[in-house]
C-alpha cells in the first residue's frame, strides 16, 4: 500500500460512497461499496458478512438469550438491537484502521447499500464532500493527532 495520507478526487454519484475492505478475525476479506454517513455513530455490516468474517455471534437472533455484545440503538425508525463487533482491520484507500467498532445488522436491500461507515471510523479522518462536483477527499488525521 502507498504511504499517501489522502484519498483525493474520488468521484461519487448521488450518494458519497467508497469501496472499503474489511478483514475479519478469521482473515477473510470482503470489499464493499460503502455509504459514508456522518450522521450515524457506528459502522454497519450485514449479519451474513459478519458471520463470514469470523463473528458467529452476529448471527444470534434469539431475543430470549441475546449475545453479550448486543447493543441497543436508536434510529429514524425507532429502537433496535444489533450485535457489536470489532472489525480486525478496515482498509480504505491507502489507509488501514485496526479494531474498528461495527454493528452487525441488515439494512433493507432495496437501499442498494449494505455497509455504512459512521463515526466509529470517520472520527479518524477529515472528510471533504463536494456534492456539486460529486467528489470526495479523505485525509487520515491520526498522525496529526498523535504528533
Amino acid at each position: 500500500m502507498s504511504s499517501s495520507s489522502t484519498l483525493a478526487e474520488h468521484a461519487f454519484g448521488k450518494f458519497p460512497t467508497v469501496f472499503v475492505r474489511l478483514r475479519g478475525r478469521n482473515a477473510t476479506v470482503r470489499e464493499f461499496n460503502a455509504l459514508i454517513d456522518p450522521g450515524v455513530e457506528y459502522c454497519v455490516v450485514p449479519k451474513v458478512d459478519a458471520y463470514a468474517l469470523g463473528y458467529p455471534e452476529a448471527a444470534n437472533d434469539d431475543p430470549i438469550s441475546p449475545a453479550n455484545n448486543t447493543l441497543t440503538f436508536t434510529s429514524y425508525g425507532g429502537y433496535g438491537k444489533a450485535a457489536s463487533i470489532e472489525m480486525a482491520r478496515v482498509d480504505l484507500g491507502s489507509f488501514s484502521f485496526e479494531k474498528v467498532d461495527f454493528l452487525a445488522m441488515d439494512i433493507p436491500p432495496v437501499t442498494g447499500f449494505d455497509v455504512v461507515l459512521g463515526w466509529s471510523l470517520l472520527q479518524f479522518m477529515k472528510l471533504e464532500f463536494d456534492y456539486s462536483l460529486g467528489q470526495l477527499r479523505i485525509e487520515d488525521i491520526r498522525k496529526k493527532v498523535e504528533a
Binding site: 469501496f19 470489499e31 464493499f32 461499496n33 451474513v48 484507500g93 432495496v110 437501499t111
Partner: protein
C-alpha cells in the same frame, strides 16, 4: 450420477472476462454483483474485475461466495426509491 454437467449454477460464473466497473454496472444493472478485483485506481478503488456471481437477492449472492477468501460485493445501480436512512 453423471459428471458431464460441469457448468456452474445460474448466477455463478467461471472464467468470466475482465470488465471495467462501468461495464459491469451496465451489464448487471439492478443486481448484486461479486467480483474479483483486477484493477485499481490511485485511490485503490476497484476499476476492473471479473464477475464471479450475481443475483437479484443479496443473501442468495452470499451463498455463492462461501469459497472465496477475498471478494468484492456491490449493487450495480442506484436505489429505485428516494433514500432516507
Amino acid at each position: 450420477m453423471s459428471s458431464s454437467n460441469t457448468a456452474p449454477p445460474a448466477g455463478e460464473q467461471e472464467g468470466s472476462q475482465e470488465l471495467s466497473l462501468p461495464d459491469i454496472i451496465k451489464q448487471y444493472k439492478g443486481k448484486w454483483v461479486a467480483l474479483t478485483v483486477t484493477g485499481r485506481d490511485k485511490n485503490f478503488q476497484p476499476t476492473k474485475g471479473k464477475v464471479v456471481a450475481d443475483d437479484m437477492d443479496r443473501y442468495m449472492l452470499r451463498m455463492k461466495l462461501k469459497k472465496f477468501q477475498d471478494i468484492c460485493i456491490f449493487f450495480a445501480g442506484e436505489p429505485p426509491y428516494p433514500l432516507l436512512l
